[in-house]
């Protein structure tokens, strides 16, 4: 008899949550193993991490801009 293999089904939505660090420990290690072994899962992770990097590059530095006077006035009033 072949030893039994536990079948773990990983959905893309779980891979997405994995990218955001939103999985509990056990799920996280399942997805991490899947990303290691499965090229499609690995592709999703790198594509979504790249999206996050672009999102940050596109909008991230807005927090460094000086706050317009009209907005500071509202709080100061």
């Amino acid at each position: 008899m072949a030893e039994s293999v536990e079948l773990v089904v990983i959905t893309p939505a779980e891979v997405s949550a994995f990218v955001d660090g939103e999985l509990a420990r056990e799920e996280r290690s399942d997805v991490a193993a899947c990303v290691r072994d499965d090229e499609r899962a690995a592709c999703l992770v790198s594509a979504w991490r790249w999206q996050l990097a672009q999102l940050y590059a596109a909008f991230g530095r807005i927090v460094d801009e000086p706050v317009p006077h009209r907005l500071r006035l509202i709080v100061a009033a």
Binding site: A17, A58, V63
Partner: protein, 176 residues
């Protein structure tokens, strides 16, 4: 409602984050600051509803979200595609022209997402909030945030691919 100096300072410190979130939602700098202005006015008027000790930024994001919902109700027939400022975001950014073009494409693709998709990616991906906090801000279940982030990522990838489609050769010939 009259703010204490301390409260006013605390709110003022959050304005850069409100501006960034609003910019991701609206695309344009002017529209974003209008949204922030309206939200700040509402926040100050209702500041007695803020429970001290809880997260001020999350409370303010909730107000921006609700303000947007109100705006959508008022302008029901508003087109889904939003204008995007393609100008470089920051003068000191030494991005090469190719990088700047690439980011402009990214902003365009992001701007073509639905509002719920933009919101959830902005909160989780840009502002770094966890699903629980994003769920409270958006008034949905945590599971909804999880599936919405996933769908938003897929939708964004589709939009990015569309923008990357090269113009067919035949059209080049017509143009030339």
């Amino acid at each position: 409602m009259r703010l204490t100096t301390e409260d006013a300072k605390a709110i003022e410190a959050e304005i850069p984050y409100l501006r960034r979130y609003a910019r991701a939602l609206t695309g344009g700098a002017e529209a974003a600051d209008d949204l922030v202005q309206d939200s700040l006015e509402r926040a100050i008027a209702r500041f007695d509803q803020f429970r001290s000790g809880t997260n001020l930024r999350a409370w303010l994001f909730t107000i921006v979200h609700n303000m947007r919902c109100d705006q959508h109700r008022r302008f029901v027939r508003r087109p889904t595609e939003i204008p995007i400022d393609d100008a470089p975001q920051h003068a000191s950014t030494r991005a090469s022209q190719a990088d700047a073009l690439h980011l402009a494409d990214f902003r365009r693709a992001f701007g073509r997402l639905s509002e719920p998709h933009r919101e959830v990616l902005a909160l989780v991906g840009l502002e770094g909030l966890d699903y629980q906090r994003a769920a409270v801000i958006l008034g949905v279940e945590v599971g909804t945030v999880k599936s919405r982030v996933f769908r938003a990522r897929e939708a964004l990838r589709r939009e990015q691919e569309l923008l990357e489609q090269p113009v067919p050769r035949a059209m080049w010939r017509v143009a030339a």
